[in-house]
């Protein structure tokens, strides 16, 4: 059974990769632009191309929302921009710095609108993931409420049990040991971040419509998450934390007259969330890229020789399945690592007095 599932998964993956190829490769040229295929998938777009049946593209056209001095706020469907279409002077740049973005021509130059808050593919996937997360968590919370009012305290099973296990993991194994006594205040944020990242990662692995988007592999998304952790660390950091940044426990000549250590510490405040941002983004982006690259082997080799291509199809499917399992692991690990490191940073922002610290060290 599981073998069949694995094969199906591989087939689905390859169909996902197939569609854009046929769409863009109608000229049936022998050159397969792997880079283009991959970039089309991992980068944002104004429409969500689901699949192609024959010559018919099945896409979800998403709203484009722009603000420029010329037009003010403007909203139109991305269908207008489809295949080089133009709407009210706006079109999608096909090359240059703004490739793939909506631009307008001003004085013969391509210029990005002042504000572009279009609901792009990633934003739409973000909506779907957020809605799914809300539905899952709120329905489970509702179920718990009912159980409590019915006086049933026994542990739930199935999906809810697994969910509760993850909640307990975040609370007991991540928040409590890393943050310490004041952990309770940060638990809602850590849980939200964990489940948001985990769900988005999993949705990214699913190769067809509601999934398959590259949400957590997008630096804007991870940046917001990292900024949230940055705020959680620095808004609630205690006096001791700030003292250790501006007047750390080092020889005085390291602090005065050149504030070497304070500078390094201050730098560290920004480096920590930056590392969080890059880690999550890079891992997920790399995962998507590797999966697509393995799928693309089929088309590259098929273009060379159909016999080699057929043989390589098996290799490609096997590798893709393997990478997908790996990505399943990475989906969890990256959510775990982000939450764990956030907790560690929050814990560092709540240091105890030095006497207590010494005791801790002695205890260890």
């Amino acid at each position: 059974m599981s073998l069949i599932r694995v094969v199906l998964l591989g087939l689905l993956l390859s169909t996902q990769a197939l569609s854009p190829l046929y769409a863009s490769d109608s000229a049936a040229s022998a050159d397969v632009d792997v880079k283009k295929i991959i970039f089309e998938h991992v980068k944002d777009a104004y429409e969500w191309h689901i699949t192609t049946l024959g010559d018919k593209h099945i896409s979800i056209y998403l709203p484009v929302i722009l603000y420029t001095e010329r037009t003010g706020w403007i909203l139109f469907s991305s269908k207008e921009l489809h295949h080089g279409g133009e709407y009210n002077g706006f079109y999608v740049a096909s090359q240059g710095v703004n490739e793939g973005k909506v631009v307008e021509r001003v004085d013969g130059k391509e210029v990005r609108p002042l504000l572009d808050i279009s609901v792009t593919k990633t934003v739409f996937a973000l909506f779907i993931n957020a809605l799914l997360l809300l539905v899952i968590v709120l329905s489970i919370a509702r179920m718990y409420k009912h159980r409590r009012s019915a006086g049933r305290l026994n542990a739930p099973g199935g999906f809810v049990g697994a969910f509760e296990m993850l909640v307990s993991m975040v609370v007991d194994d991540i928040a409590k040991p890393n943050i310490g006594a004041a952990y309770a205040r940060y638990v809602p944020y850590l849980l939200t971040a964990f489940f948001f990242i985990f769900l988005s990662n999993i949705m990214g692995i699913i190769p067809f419509f509601p999934g398959g988007s590259n949400v957590t592999g997008n630096i804007a998304v991870t940046m917001v998450l990292a900024v949230c952790t940055f705020l959680a660390v620095n808004l609630f950091g205690n006096k001791e934390y700030w003292k250790e940044i501006f007047w750390p426990d080092v020889p005085v000549w390291l602090k005065v007259p050149v504030p070497l250590m304070p500078f390094i510490e201050l730098f560290g405040i920004f480096v920590k969330p930056f590392a969080l941002m890059i880690r999550l983004f890079a891992n997920i982006l790399a995962g998507h890229t590797v999966v697509l690259a393995f799928v693309s082997i089929i088309f590259v080799t098929m273009a060379v020789n159909s016999l080699i291509g057929t043989a390589m199809t098996f290799v490609s499917v096997v590798f893709t399945v393997f990478i997908n399992f790996l990505e399943l692991l990475v989906a969890f690990i990256q959510a775990f690592v982000f939450t764990m490191l956030s907790s560690v940073f929050i814990g560092l922002s709540l240091p105890q007095h030095h006497t207590d610290k010494h005791n801790d060290i002695n205890e260890i």
Partner: protein, 165 residues
């Protein structure tokens, strides 16, 4: 490089979406679940504590009944021992009393026998004395007819009597 440049529109939407999701879940979602898990944990801890206490109480009851049983057994042994002692004493006493009684009876018997004997002796002596007197009278009647013999007889008697004494 465009991968590394965060898109402003996406930043905006992510901020909005994550903000809303965080707000809703932090208010209506996770606290309920975490509270429930905590409550269950407390309930389990409480139950374990209760079970432990019940076990301890049971053990205490067991020990108590054990000690009760032991003391009852001790009491039984003590009563049995006392009964044996009492019995022995009673037997001893009875035996002593019987001995005493027997001795008393023996002494009485002995006294009676003595008395009987003395009576008999007195009786015999009287009869002997009477016989002696009778004989003496008969002899004296015959002997006193002769003076010489009379004198020698008296002499003889006196000797005899003296000797006897």
């Amino acid at each position: 490089m465009s991968f590394l440049l965060p898109d402003a529109g996406l930043l905006f939407w992510m901020l909005v979406v994550f903000g809303i999701v965080f707000f809703i879940l932090a208010r209506y979602g996770f606290p309920i679940i975490v509270d429930m898990v905590d409550e269950r944990k407390r309930f389990i801890d409480q139950s374990l504590q209760n079970a432990k206490e019940a076990n301890e109480r049971l053990a205490a009851i067991n020990a108590e009944s054990e000690s009760l049983l032991k003391s009852a057994r001790d009491e039984q042994a003590r009563i049995l021992r006392e009964a044996a002692v009492t019995r022995d004493e009673l037997i001893k006493e009875a035996r002593e009393r019987a001995d005493k009684e027997g001795e008393k009876m023996l002494a009485e018997t002995r006294r009676l026998i003595q008395m009987e004997k003395e009576e008999m002796m007195r009786d015999m002596r009287r009869q002997v004395a009477e016989l002696s007197i009778e004989i003496s009278r008969k002899i004296l009647r015959r002997e006193l007819s002769d003076d010489v013999r009379q004198g020698s007889l008296i002499e003889e008697y006196i000797d005899e009597t003296l000797k006897k004494q």
